[in-house]
């Protein structure tokens, strides 16, 4: 086997320069001070200091000491939280940005689905954009021509192929964009979360296409938060955490590890300042806990007992239309349920707008819901149709012990994410 990608001691440092926070509040005083400092800044820029220098700018390592190889024809999953360095890694591999340390050798053309539709121009027709986009992605004109019909077929927009794409619906636009990228046929395909968009049918098609690509012996790097997609498409995965590669294992093992690690403590997830993106303000999550009947934080839940999910958060300003809730999903990424704290009309009336302060939203999940295995809790705080303040789809994971659950007399595992105690009646009617 030949090595398609070889990454050695890769590191990427970003500066969190003052430029980013400049005029954050648009204060006149700041603007004036800044103007007065201009000669100094020009001097620094000309002498190569300042923005490119290291003085008074904080920096952080988006990637550090990452080393791994990928053999040709392998499909490697990359998992990790937001900010773990996944996108930075893909950006370096696709040569968008250059590393600070380390080396990468890549054998063959890298096709990136970092962002489909890059270079699409709204005024150009679908046909013109296919050629344009193909060229940007590194395809030769002859190559695009030979695949043109296939691309149009795949995108399902053949009727509108000579219409400017500014008249397309967002779904059509996306399908066309993905179709071009999917037909690129690079030796190495890099996919980042493109499947998060599009309707279910199209997503299925995309996953199928990715599967084909892998079948043809190409190397695929697949980044996703969707654990079921990761498990379906990859045999092996690496886990990134705070810029470092902390595990490489068969996908099942890596997913298990990912879902159970990273969480601060068993049955409990605490957020400190640096985990919370600035965009969440004024919402600030504090903790998420899974508790048993007696109020104890637990890592393993008994399916025959009710479980309390407790989400504590701080509002730094009042929010109107806020709803706070959780997703429950299996570790394969299948959703089991979604619930919000203002689902009930009376609570909706009372807590639709909340003043600043500290709150706890608490929900009881009744007994006899869970099946055996491991579940993931995600949290969401949003104003419907307005804004999503905070979301963490894998905030916490817990185990379920099913001793005493219905049907335990048979030792077999039961399929399905829930195992409710249904009231059966059996009558002899003849």
């Amino acid at each position: 086997m030949t090595t398609a990608i070889s990454v050695k001691d890769l590191g990427k440092k970003y500066r969190i320069g003052a430029a980013q926070t400049k005029f954050k509040y648009g204060m006149l005083r700041e603007v004036l001070v800044d103007a007065a400092m201009t000669p100094v800044r020009i001097y620094k820029a000309l002498t190569g200091k300042g923005a490119r220098g290291t003085t008074n700018t904080a920096s952080f390592w988006a990637l550090k000491d990452v080393t791994f190889d990928v053999e040709e024809g392998k499909v490697l999953g990359i998992i990790g939280r937001n900010g773990a360095g996944k996108s930075t890694l893909l950006k370096i591999l696709s040569r968008v940005t250059e590393p600070t340390l380390g080396t990468v050798s890549v054998r063959g053309r890298v096709g990136s689905l970092l962002e489909v539709g890059t270079g699409f121009h709204p005024e150009l027709t679908g046909r013109e954009n296919i050629f344009m986009n193909g060229a940007i992605l590194g395809m030769k004109n002859a190559e695009i021509e030979s695949k043109f019909d296939e691309i149009v077929d795949f995108s399902e927009v053949s009727q509108f192929i000579d219409t400017p794409v500014k008249r397309y619906s967002s779904g059509m636009y996306l399908r066309l964009a993905f179709a071009v990228a999917a037909h690129l046929e690079p030796e190495i395909l890099v996919v980042d979360e493109v499947l998060a968009v599009g309707d279910a049918e199209f997503q299925r098609k995309c996953l199928g296409k990715m599967g084909d690509v892998a079948q043809q012996g190409r190397t695929v790097l697949f980044v996703s938060h969707n654990m079921s997609a990761i498990m379906r498409l990859t045999q092996e995965a690496i886990v990134l955490n705070k810029g470092q590669l902390i595990m490489r294992a068969p996908t099942q093992e890596a997913v298990d590890f990912y879902l159970s690690s990273g969480q601060a403590q068993a049955g409990e997830r605490l957020w400190d300042g640096e985990d919370v993106p600035a965009s969440s303000a004024p919402f600030r999550p504090i903790s998420l806990k899974v508790k048993n009947r007696s109020g104890k934080v637990i890592d393993t839940v008994r399916s025959i007992e009710p479980v309390t999910v407790e989400f504590e958060y701080q509002l730094d300003a009042s929010i109107t239309g806020l709803r706070v809730g959780f997703y429950l999903s299996t570790m394969r990424g299948e959703f089991v349920l979604t619930s919000f704290d203002t689902d009930a009309p009376e609570l909706f009336e009372k807590f639709d707008s909340r003043k600043s302060g500290r709150y706890v939203s608490r929900a009881e999940i009744p007994a006899d819901i869970f099946n055996e295995g491991r579940y993931s809790l995600g949290v969401n705080a949003s104003s419907f149709g307005v804004r999503r303040y905070f979301m963490d789809e894998n905030a916490l994971a817990f185990n379920v012990d099913i001793s005493g659950a219905p049907g335990m007399q048979w030792g077999e595992p039961r399929v399905g994410p829930v195992r409710p105690r249904l009231s059966w009646k059996i009558e002899k009617i003849g």
Binding site: Y14, A45, S94, P99, T103, V106, E123, E128, I136, A142
Partner: protein
């Protein structure tokens, strides 16, 4: 499915940037089709949803010429025109000047306006300013047709050597425009001041370039000082090639050519050196 391109995959090494980056013109060659696509896209889109369309390519230089002609015939501006009818004299200057200004305007913004491409995919970044500069040639050709009409009207006929001298001066104009554009585009990624400085820069540059006046009457020292501005060499060269005015190629032209290529090579190296941080700073 036909496999048109069967090639043994080449291995690319990605390393941290060190010192001055090599020009890496090989990559530019591999992506040459993209240059044409970008030019084509710019041209297709340029006059979309305008009423007059490509007529703008003519309207701009012609109106400018008419305004200057008005000022000239009324005696508001008193300048030399080497005994050539002023309309055709100024128009011949405005042609390469227009090409230059349009190139600077679009190329200096070419990186920032395509930032989504830069932050998402790899391609030689040089393609963007190059395509912007070359895209201006279409407008130039359209405006040139008017010049031919004017030459017929004023009964001015160029010497036969215009067939090779004019293209050479056109190349010099492009080299100059590209050189300056590379600097501006790369600086613009980090310092958007370029957007504000550019109108001033081009206006100032117009005054020190013999577009609407002739530098023929200047002293020899002045002539040489003038040739430090490569656009002076371009404009004088255009007039010499098309109208036969001036002395033709002399020392000052070679000074212009040298400066022009120095700007270009400096720009190329500066651009390549800044290129690696484009995606992070844009």
């Amino acid at each position: 499915m036909t496999e048109l391109i069967k090639h043994e995959p080449t291995t690319i090494y990605i390393k941290p940037p060190k010192g001055f980056a090599a020009l890496n013109l090989r990559d530019l060659w591999i992506y040459r089709e993209l240059v044409f696509f970008m030019i084509w896209r710019d041209i297709k889109v340029r006059y979309k949803q305008t009423m007059l369309g490509a007529l703008w390519a003519i309207i701009q230089p012609v109106l400018t010429m008419l305004v200057f002609n008005f000022l000239f015939t009324r005696g508001v501006i008193k300048v030399q025109s080497d005994g050539i009818p002023y309309p055709i004299f100024s128009y011949t200057g405005l042609l390469p000047w227009g090409l230059f200004v349009a190139a600077l305007n679009s190329a200096s913004r070419s990186l920032t306006s395509n930032h989504n491409m830069i932050t998402k995919i790899y391609f030689p970044r040089l393609i963007l300013p190059i395509a912007s500069v070359l895209g201006g040639l279409v407008d130039f050709v359209i405006a040139f047709i008017v010049l031919i009409g004017m030459m017929v009207y004023f009964k001015v006929s160029p010497a036969w050597n215009v067939l090779w001298t004019l293209p050479l001066f056109l190349i010099l104009a492009i080299v100059t425009a590209l050189g300056v554009s590379l600097w501006l585009a790369a600086i613009n990624v980090q310092y958007r001041d370029v957007n504000y400085a550019l109108p001033f820069l081009t206006q100032f540059w117009l005054f020190i370039t013999p577009v609407i006046y002739s530098s023929a009457g200047f002293s020899e020292k002045m002539q040489l000082a003038y040739s430090l501005n490569p656009m002076a060499g371009v404009v004088n060269g255009f007039r010499w090639a098309l109208l036969g005015s001036g002395n033709g190629p002399d020392t000052s032209l070679w000074v212009s050519v040298t400066i022009s290529f120095l700007i270009l090579f400096g720009g190329l190296f500066y651009f390549r050196n800044m290129e690696k941080t484009f995606a992070d700073t844009i």
